[in-house]
């Protein structure tokens, strides 16, 4: 028994559970579809807008700030991904690793401070 298949087997179990979960959801939806009433009326399929007829389409522009936060998130998530392996093998890299990671984190923090100062983090 190779360790590779051990490794993969763990994910196979995860996959099975995911499959069971999806199947259950599908089953419930299917059963409900058969049992529940379906009386279609035009009014029912209107989108909800506080009780009045909807104005315009539902797809409106949203604020650009959301996008900026998404970019910042990518930055910090990638940072975390780089730190994860180092954190698990901290001792192996010793002081050298600490200095290197300190520089890395420091530069990213500078980026956060820069964004902060530029008013990116301010929600108006």
């Amino acid at each position: 028994m190779s360790s590779a298949s051990d490794f993969l087997r763990e994910y196979l179990t995860v996959l099975i559970l995911g499959g069971v979960g999806a199947a259950l959801v599908g089953l419930l939806l299917g059963a409900s579809h058969l049992l529940r009433p379906a009386r279609r009326q035009p009014g029912k399929s209107l989108t909800y807008e506080s009780g009045v007829d909807p104005v315009g389409t539902g797809w409106t522009q949203s604020q650009i700030r959301y996008y900026v936060f998404a970019l910042l998130f990518v930055m910090f998530d990638v940072e975390a991904v780089f730190i994860f392996p180092w954190a698990t093998r901290l001792e192996a890299y010793g002081g050298f690793g600490l200095v290197e990671m300190g520089i890395f984190v420091f530069i990213l923090l500078l980026g956060l401070v820069y964004a902060w100062r530029k008013g990116v983090l301010k929600w108006v």
């Binding site: 001792e91 500078l110 820069y114 100062r117």
Partner: protein
């Protein structure tokens, strides 16, 4: 079942960490630290700095980097010590990388002075402009020194990302935004090509270290080298895009036209220099044993660039587009030197890049002034009658254009002579003849601008563009570029010595 997991995660043995000889990386470190400190200072003191502080600061940092190169150059030139390999063989410090770094720093100084005037005129914010120039130079410097393909990629990304932002820096101008976006999207494509090429090369040779690639290929003959050829081709595409060689030049006219004029100058000078430095190191040194295979392709790129650049530049009416196509033609000339795949070829390429740096930055400094408020007056009409309105400016522009055309007594002539000689030495007669013919065609285009400046009546003599201010920053850039173009054209000795010495080498890591 769990024993393997524990084994994989539990071991606490020390890893061998590479030595980082900080002093040998001084130029790069000065550039990067200067840029990051500058960015933070700019953010912290927002609005309380004079605009010129950014340009002067960037010039001081780049100057410090040049100063730090001098002792390194002496150290590396000393036969007893020789080139240095730093950070476990990732970065090499040899005269090639130092030469290119110095060239990039010089480009930063000149471009930031032009940019200072530009920012002032356009009312643009802050020192980020100059600081991004520093970051771009740092990336280019890493490319020039990279002894490992991954490090090369990091360098090219740092360089490119900074330049993407720079191209879109004039955010109020729609064409600048378009330029930035276009460059970003297509540049991302090119980076992907390069990275994929690196991946295939790794697959074929089992290493990304150029030194080990070199020795791997020198020691054995691959029976099935499809993977390696694919990798070579993709990397060539990536580099050809960055230098703007035909047929990967499509972005050049649009991006050059839309980007702020000082940035266009920097792109023409520094980005090209850095990309060619990477190309020379990877192909001429790393894949020397495959030269027979890549040389015809590079030669074809050179011919295509020369012909398309020269012919297309003639039919343009926008001066920035003309200069964009002329930069494609110049890339073709440098490719002649790469194609030679020899020491003379490399030296001639470096000399050409140095010459083009001076000429391009000077030219685009003039373009910055003539562009006027809003950076929009770049048609040939805007240059009509410049000889009467601003005789000095017109004279400088004529000098730069004639130098680019390859007129004797200027540095441009010697540069063209060098690469053509290298091509002839490498028995590439066809290339040399095409280069000489296209040089003649290009001359026609350069002369069109000169004629417009001196012999055409300005249709709009009376409008307010009659008085063009020449701010001190642009004055400095033009002055330095004129001196470099003329003096080095007459006395090329010192620069030739430097570029002859600056050959890329790969150094083994001591003891491993």
């Amino acid at each position: 079942m769990f024993a393997t997991l524990l084994q994989a995660t539990g071991a606490g043995d020390k890893l061998v960490t590479p030595e980082v000889p900080w002093s040998h990386l001084a130029p790069q470190l000065i550039l990067v630290v200067g840029a990051t400190v500058g960015v933070i200072a700019a953010a912290a003191l927002r609005g309380r700095l004079r605009r010129s502080v950014g340009a002067v600061g960037a010039a001081v940092v780049a100057g410090a980097a040049i100063v730090s190169i001098i002792p390194l150059w002496h150290r590396v030139s000393n036969p007893a010590q020789g080139p240095i390999s730093a950070v476990n063989g990732a970065i090499g410090v040899d005269r090639f990388s130092l030469f290119v770094t110095a060239l990039l720093c010089a480009a930063v100084i000149l471009a930031s002075f032009t940019a200072e005037a530009y920012l002032q005129r356009e009312g643009l914010d802050g020192p980020e402009f100059s600081l991004l120039l520093l970051l771009a130079a740092a990336g280019g410097s890493v490319m020039a020194g990279a002894n490992d393909l991954i490090v090369m990629f990091i360098g090219i990304e740092v360089l490119s990302l900074a330049v993407y932002v720079l191209a879109a820096m004039h955010a109020r101008r729609i064409s600048s935004q378009e330029s930035g976006l276009k460059y970003f999207l297509l540049g991302g494509f090119a980076s992907a090509f390069l990275l994929y090429g690196i991946a295939l090369t790794y697959g074929a040779t089992g290493t990304t270290s150029l030194l080990r690639v070199q020795s791997f290929l020198a020691e054995r003959v691959l029976t099935d080298d499809g993977l390696l050829l694919g990798g070579l081709a993709l990397m060539l595409v990536g580099f050809a895009f960055k230098v703007g060689a035909v047929p990967f030049h499509m972005w050049t006219p649009d991006v050059y036209q839309g980007a702020p004029s000082p940035v266009t100058g920097f792109m023409a000078a520094a980005v090209k220099t850095a990309a060619f430095a990477g190309m020379l190191r990877v192909f001429v040194v790393g894949f020397a044993s495959y030269a027979d295979l890549w040389r015809p392709v590079v030669g074809a790129l050179a011919i295509a660039s020369l012909v398309v650049g020269a012919v297309m530049s003639v039919v343009q009416t926008n001066v920035k587009r003309m200069l964009a196509y002329s930069s494609i033609a110049h890339a073709g000339f440098v490719l002649l030197g790469v194609d030679a795949a020899s020491a003379e070829g490399t030296a001639a390429s470096l000399f050409y890049l140095a010459a083009y740096t001076a000429m391009a930055l000077g030219t685009f400094a003039v373009v910055t002034v003539v562009g006027g408020s809003g950076d929009g007056a770049h048609t040939l009409d805007a240059y009509r009658g410049l000889g009467r309105r601003r005789p000095g400016l017109a004279l400088a522009m004529s000098l730069f254009l004639l130098a680019q055309a390859g007129t004797p007594v200027t540095i441009g002539f010697l540069a063209k002579l060098g690469v053509i000689r290298a091509a002839i030495d490498a028995d590439q007669w066809a290339l040399a003849i095409v280069a000489m013919l296209t040089a003649v065609i290009s001359t026609f285009m350069y002369l069109r601008i000169v004629v417009a400046m001196y012999f055409a009546e300005s249709e709009s003599e009376s409008d307010d563009r009659g008085e063009l201010r020449i701010p001190w920053g642009v004055g400095v850039t033009i002055g330095v570029a004129v001196i470099a173009t003329l003096v080095l054209g007459v006395v090329p000795g010192p620069l030739e010595h430097l570029s002859d010495d600056a050959l890329p080498v790969l150094v083994a890591v001591d003891g491993r």
